[in-house]
């Protein structure tokens, strides 16, 4: 069990690291081919409303998002910093670990002070069938009522 939590924490840490280091191309590689990724407000999540800020239903869709961030989206330059904590294992199946975490994302634009972009909780599933663990599903649920500016980078 303690080995599992360490391994899960490592996956979360890598996830944050590739985004904060701006190595976005590595981000989809942390997901299974058939993964499901949702970035959704707490309001919608708790009212069972389907609308997400991001809905991706495959690793390919995550690659598409990276392609857009790199090539088509127009946005002001920024740094992002993710702080992830309280990683917990909620439930353990044969090849699937149900986990959750809490996070804060800060962003810093040119000439600006760092601002909180999003904060909240994530409810996730980790595929443990291979030696390298991957996210099979993520529901990233943010508390923010109003999101400051735009969300350019994945959370």
């Amino acid at each position: 069990m303690s080995e599992n939590i360490l391994k899960a924490e490592r996956l979360y840490a890598t996830h944050a690291q590739v985004i904060c280091d701006n190595e976005l191309e590595k981000w989809p590689e942390l997901y299974t081919q058939e993964c499901r990724y949702r970035l959704i407000s707490r309001v919608n999540y708790e009212r069972n409303l389907p609308m997400c800020v991001i809905l991706a239903e495959s690793r390919g869709a995550l690659i598409d998002r990276v392609t857009a961030i790199r090539n088509t989206l127009v946005y002001a330059p920024r740094y992002v910093t993710h702080l992830v904590s309280n990683v917990r294992i909620v439930k353990q199946d044969a090849n699937l670990l149900h986990t959750r975490s809490q996070f804060v994302v800060y962003f810093t634009q040119t000439d600006g002070n760092p601002r909180v972009q999003l904060l909240g909780r994530s409810f996730d599933q980790i595929d443990t069938s291979q030696s390298e663990w991957l996210f099979a599903a993520r529901d990233v649920v943010f508390d923010n009522e109003l999101v400051p500016g735009s969300i350019v980078h994945p959370i």
Binding site: C52, A56, D64, L73, V74, V147, P148
Partner: protein, 422 residues
């Protein structure tokens, strides 16, 4: 500061042009001008979007909303009427409803428990006759005069609007026939279903948002996502028009080229797509409406946009937060009779819009760029001359024009400063 007020008065007399081909930057940042906007526009004879009536399905259900900077409550009463009430107790001005959504038989202020019925009428005040027979309110205390202020409400096929001005035109006359027809193309009388919300806080003046939706110029220049992925043709057919009366309500509609023609068409070679999507689901709509219009942006003065982007339906409401910031409030909806597949399709298409939208991020980022320039250079003017100087609807087929922005400012100047229309 009197000097600021005088400076401001002077400025309003000095719109840089007779027509609206120039917009002075100070209208996007001046504090006094902003206060005047609240008074003349947001609290004047113009309609604000409040929400959808399906958000409060049962008597007693309420939802918080905003008109300008004033919090209001949308509540369904026992007669099944939708009321919009100022969310401010008549006693000490406290907000009466704190929950974003709620349901109750009455509306009770948490501070001193003044209690109102669902139409806003004051029903009870604690210690009205004092305690143990001593004190209390005067015998002639007027309960009726201390109700929650009720706004005028009109519900158009499920979309709820309110205004503080009881003399405002009915919605159909307000939008005029032509624009109303497009409004009721989306709000066609079918029961609605909310699919979710998004809210963003953007640094810029509130007018930048409706102007962006009125501006067909930027679409193919700024939004390269669809073009780069070979999903859009620059020469697609469309139509721009402004309402006949004020020119301040506008419609931009276009018809997307079917995907198969898009790929085979020779002209596309020059816009050859650089990239291919791995997952096409977020850009795979189906025909839903009787006509072939794939994108319809309807902007209603002052600042509501109703957009149909293929199967994605949204209200984008702008709520001012001072001269230099606004809330962009998205209500995504479908129809009650949508099957699961349609709901999923709408949800997938939403990847294009909202806080992380493949298209919307571009817009929301450039507002902040415009805003910084406007704030720092109040004495300079914006140039809005594309398509000429008038605010008449462009001729059929002319898809690149700024006439709708000029139309907005012709009404704006008239309302704000009594400036005669050109």
């Amino acid at each position: 500061m009197a000097s600021v007020a005088i400076e401001f008065q002077k400025k309003t007399l000095e719109w840089p042009t007779e027509d609206c081909t120039r917009i002075p930057n100070w209208v996007y940042s001046d504090k006094d001008n902003y206060q005047l906007e609240l008074e003349k526009i947001f609290y004047g004879p113009f309609w604000s979007f409040i929400g959808l009536d399906c958000e409060v399905p049962n008597p007693g259900d309420y939802k918080r909303a905003m008109v300008g900077e004033r919090p209001v409550i949308m509540v369904r009463d026992k007669d099944n009427q939708i009321n919009v009430l100022l969310n401010s107790c008549a006693h000490r001005a406290a907000e009466v409803c704190l929950d974003k959504f709620g349901s109750n038989r009455v509306l009770m202020c948490p501070y001193h428990q003044w209690t109102y019925d669902l139409k806003g009428k004051l029903m009870g005040v604690p210690f009205r006759k004092g305690a143990k027979g001593i004190g209390g309110y005067p015998a002639d205390f007027d309960m009726a005069a201390n109700s929650l202020k009720a706004l005028r409400v009109e519900v158009v096929n499920g979309a709820v609007f309110a205004t503080f001005d009881h003399n405002a035109l009915p919605m159909k006359d307000y939008l005029t026939e032509k624009v109303y027809e497009k409004f009721t193309r989306v709000f066609d009388g079918r029961k609605l279903k909310v699919l979710g919300y998004q809210r963003q806080r953007l640094r810029g003046n509130w007018k930048l948002y409706p102007e962006n939706l009125k501006d067909s110029y930027h679409a193919t220049l700024l939004h390269v996502f669809l073009i780069s992925f070979g999903l859009y043709r620059m020469d697609q057919k469309g139509n721009l028009f402004n309402d006949d009366k004020t020119h301040a309500h506008n419609v931009v509609e276009s018809i997307a080229t079917p995907r198969d023609q898009l790929k085979s068409h020779d002209e596309m070679r020059s816009y050859k797509s650089n990239f291919e999507l791995n997952d096409m689901r977020p850009v795979t709509p189906v025909k839903e409406f009787p006509d072939d219009i794939t994108i319809q942006n309807l902007t209603m003065f002052p600042c509501l946009t109703v957009q149909q982007q293929q199967n994605l339906l949204q209200c984008r409401n702008v709520i001012p937060l001072g001269p230099n910031e606004f809330e962009l409030s998205w209500t995504f909806f479908g129809y009650e009779d949508d099957d699961e597949e349609m709901t999923l399709r709408r949800t997938r298409l939403a990847n294009l819009t909202g806080a992380a939208g493949y298209i919307s991020v571009d817009d929301n980022e450039v507002f902040e760029l415009s805003a910084s320039g406007m704030l720092a250079n109040p004495d300079l003017n914006c140039v809005v001359e594309l398509g000429g100087s008038s605010s008449e609807s462009p001729q059929a087929g002319e898809m690149v024009s700024e006439s709708a922005i000029r139309g907005f400012y012709e009404l704006y100047r008239e309302v704000m400063y009594g400036h005669p229309r050109p």
